[in-house]
Symmetry: C2
Subunit: 238 residues, 2 copies
């Protein structure tokens, strides 16, 4: 049975557009009518997740719940959230709905194990995701060894996420910063990089610096396609 | 007052993703929270519009109306449809809702007048859009002179739209066909091209053949941003 997908988006809007695009191009379909029915509530006024998790900022859960209700009413049969930090609220949100919410960190961690086995993953993410251990726990459950960026590297990541991608600034001036960050982490043992904030695949694709990378947005897209009863296209058209 | 935007999508899904992406990058915003609240119902099972307009195919209006109701219930305050051919059903749909539906052909025609004055526009579109005169009427109202592709050129357009973009096929093998089509139309007087099917800006951007082009998806994005009470970013980041 085919399922209708609900995207609880807006965190941020460009990451939501990125997930929707990835779902569309990764679905095996030869006409409009063979694609997934997708419902999106992209409410960018949802309060910042890192701010709530670490600094006592406004609770995003009421607005996330309002979006969830919109998606339920419109006929969604499963939910995805293209925001890794928002997964700090996954349990609370799942308790409020009978619809399954796909767990992006858990499914990405399983993919890391499959692709890279015992090699050392480096988590690139917001302070909210890093300091609450959202990906650390998921990777530990898969037995994947993890390298965490140092505090000053975390600040560079927050700059790239908030002052560049979320602020809609040009990416190119950040190329050296991004390259240098990856080189430094490789020097201390990173064997591949987890782009564990949905703004980072946008940065990584725009700057085209070599990884290797695991993109949780693409993993979530693949998982959603399969969960909804569709097939994945093997070769993405160029 | 800021308005919530409803996108009646799925016609096709890649065009819907393209509009959502263009709205996001064209909005002047320095953080997630400064973006538009966007609701999307992308139901690709809506029957083909050209087939209904020209060949007695299944009426798409019932499913379009169901999506409209979803968007109304979720709180949309105005509606856009990223499908030019679907505008053949605009009047019927508008009669079923008190929400304003932005008229993509009309606003694009006004933009053609503004950008190109009395120069000759060539409409590139589906048979449904071409043969029912959706863009011809809009351009006539603006006094814009129009060139229509010949029947065999219309068939090439239908091939590019249905067998390539909607079928998720690679674009590159079509570059010569696309280039040759534009050259032939230029030879008979086309001074610029209206990409009047939402699959065509995807093709044109992917193949990077010179136009000049007017992109109704980008024009609809700009109109929606302004209508919802937001500002347009002057320079799109690269």
């Amino acid at each position: 049975m085919k399922k209708t997908l609900g995207i609880l988006g807006g965190m941020g809007p460009l990451a939501t557009a990125d997930l929707f695009h990835k779902i569309t191009v990764l679905t095996k379909a030869a006409s409009d009518q063979e694609h997934i029915h997708v419902l999106i509530d992209s409410d960018p006024s949802i309060p910042d997740r890192t701010d709530a998790l670490l600094h006592g900022g406004q609770d995003p859960l009421p607005k996330m719940t309002a979006s969830l209700r919109n998606l339920e009413r419109a006929g969604a049969e499963c939910i995805v959230m293209p925001c890794n930090t928002a997964h700090g609220f996954l349990q609370a949100l799942q308790a409020r709905t009978s619809l399954p919410i796909l767990n992006m960190p858990a499914l990405t961690a399983a993919r890391c194990r499959e692709l890279y086995g015992d090699r050392q993953a480096c988590i690139l993410a917001t302070s909210g995701t890093l300091e609450t251990g959202i990906y650390h726990r998921a990777l530990q459950e898969q037995g994947v060894p993890v390298l965490t960026p140092a505090k000053y590297e975390e600040e560079i990541l927050m700059h790239l996420i908030y002052d560049v991608v979320k602020a809609s600034k040009p990416l190119q001036p950040e190329k050296e910063t991004w390259q240098h960050l990856l080189d430094s982490l490789r020097a201390v043992g990173a064997e591949y990089f987890l782009l564990a904030c949905t703004e980072l695949p946008i940065l990584a694709e725009g700057l085209a610096v070599p990884g290797p990378f695991v993109d949780p947005t693409a993993e979530l897209a693949r998982a959603a396609i399969l969960f909804c009863g569709y097939e994945i296209r093997e070769q993405v058209p160029v």
